[in-house]
């Protein structure tokens, strides 16, 4: 009965709400008579960054949980939890709210850009312990803002605030908690082939509350056939782009998070109805990206998750820990396991031209790497097209250039 209700709700949404919202955006003069003769005005595109929706699915195999300590309470909890498997899926979205382009006051040949974006994130995390009767379904939803300012053809300042709510579907009312992840990053593009990054982040990516420095560099152009990217503490990757439609990479990236879970399993014996579950690890693998066009891309990836940790924290014990990382009452180290990861990205609308503009590429890369919601599972760089080669001229069709060619060009 519940499933039928959900299905009806989804159908109503698909039939009424989605088309209504799309049509409202597309037809400004829908109330005017059809024969009203007024030439619509073609407005200049305002934003450099296109709205983007992306989804991600990640799953590991089942593996043994090991205790990091030989204490009896720790061994008992390890025995209770049993084998461990982890599945997560998330949907993310960002959209420019305001973009301002201006010439620098001191140097009128330099273009500065300011971007204000809204971000939305929803995630479901399903840690599966073979020893527990009922598995927890943890969620995280948030709405955030980010500001990116590029200036002097070399520098970028990135500021992101991602407030979100975490909870356990097992006991939503008591487990819901507000958290805030945030980052400030300064990017210096020394030249298109080399970029440096530094900053600070408040993150829960490593299964606890951390205030961490961020350091990174990139060697190689973002639209070239190969570039190396190192962004501590998030990701290190070497990327190959043999064609504009296909790219692949070898990477090592951090994953994890901190969630509230209901203590109905009585994993903590000292009265807390809600405890906190933290997990982290490093996913090391190969990723294949397919980009049929500028609007759509998808990827598949697989490898091994290593240096995995699981922590359980007492809510009441850590209440006094205002800014420090939480102290766990249990630490587990699951064995390495194989993972599969795939995702889809859609980009919408038009954007201002940015090809050849390497600072804008750096802005896009920074925006895509620092994904909404502090999940480290971003949409990828499908908005940066690999540089064209001469042989691509042969694929040009008339309809792609009809706006560019005048009849006087034919003489």
């Amino acid at each position: 009965m519940q499933n039928v209700k959900h299905l009806l709700f989804l159908l109503c949404w698909l039939i009424f709400i989605m088309p209504a919202s799309l049509l409202h955006g597309g037809v400004g003069d829908s109330l005017l008579p059809g024969n009203f003769s007024r030439t619509p005005k073609q407005r200049e595109v305002r934003n450099y960054i296109r709205p983007c929706v992306y989804t991600n699915f990640y799953s590991t195999g089942s593996r043994a949980m090991k205790s990091s300590s030989n204490s009896i309470p720790s061994l008992l909890i390890t025995a209770r939890l049993g084998n461990y498997k982890f599945i997560t899926s998330n949907i993310g979205f960002y959209c420019p709210l305001y973009t301002h382009t201006s010439f620098d006051k001191n140097d009128s040949s330099t273009v500065n850009t300011f971007h204000l974006l809204m971000t939305i994130n929803g995630l479901v995390d399903q840690p599966q312990f073979s020893g527990l009767e009922k598995q927890h379904k943890l969620y995280k939803t948030g709405l955030g803002l980010r500001m990116i300012y590029g200036w002097n053809s070399k520098f970028i300042l990135f500021v992101d605030a991602s407030p979100y709510v975490v909870g356990d579907k097992y006991d939503k009312q008591n487990t819901q908690q507000f958290r805030l992840a945030s980052s400030v990053v300064f990017n210096w593009m020394i030249n298109p082939k080399f970029s440096l990054r530094g900053g600070f982040t408040k993150t829960f990516l490593f299964g606890n509350r951390h205030y961490l420095p961020m350091l990174g560099f990139r060697i190689g152009k973002l639209d070239s056939k190969c570039y190396f990217n190192f962004q501590l503490p998030r990701i290190a990757s070497i990327n190959f782009q043999p064609t504009p439609k296909f790219s692949w990479s070898i990477y090592s990236k951090a994953y994890g998070g901190l969630y509230n879970i209901s203590n109905t399993d009585t994993l903590y014996l000292f009265g807390d109805s809600v405890i906190q579950f933290g997990q982290s690890g490093f996913a090391n693998g190969i990723r294949l990206d397919f980009r049929p066009g500028p609007n759509f891309s998808f990827f598949v990836s697989s490898g091994f998750s290593m240096r995995n940790h699981v922590w359980l924290f007492s809510n009441s014990y850590n209440k006094a820990n205002h800014l420090k990382p939480f102290a766990p009452f249990y630490t587990g180290t699951p064995d390495p396991a194989m993972f599969v990861n795939f995702g889809i990205t859609w980009r919408f609308g038009n954007a201002k031209k940015s090809q050849g503009n390497y600072l804008m590429y750096d802005i896009m890369d920074l925006n895509n790497t620092m994904d909404p919601g502090d999940n480290n599972s971003g949409p990828g760089n499908s908005d940066i097209r690999r540089a064209a080669e001469k042989k691509e001229m042969e694929k040009v069709q008339y309809k792609d250039v009809v706006d560019l060619i005048d009849d006087t060009d034919l003489y």
Binding site: L22, I120, G122, N357, M360, A387, E389, E394, L410
Partner: protein, 162 residues
Amino acid sequence: MKRILLILTIIFAFLANGLSAQTGSSSKGIPDSTQSATGAERVQALKVAFITKALNLTSDEAEKFWPIYNLYQDKREAARKQLQLDYKKIKEQADKLSPEEFQKLDEEIVALKVQDAALVSEMNDKLKAVLPPKKLAQLYVAEEDFKKELIKILTEDNKKPK
């Protein structure tokens, strides 16, 4: 389930507003462009590669050149697309428009052509601080050569047996 649908509804509401802000208004039946997204992107990428090679831009020159050039190309493209809409309207509604409406369209077409020339002049002034005079002059030659290259490809493609 409800949470996911709420998130998707918010996303689509913003996308709908974002799309109308980004593409400009468009009345029913008149598409913004006949270009495919992939094709347009490919042509733009080819143009960048062509001009970079033709002007032999240094890294420092390219850093400043492309943001200015792209900015003015966007402005010129908006004017060009408005011109296409006006031409289309004249062609399709030749029997329905009044003399006053034709006059208004004439004035708009001329204003758009003047605007295009003004934008080229403004861009030229900005680029004087970025490129030496020789490369700036070569830019306009490179643009024409690129168009000729495209026409050559399209003409050869037309001649091939299908």
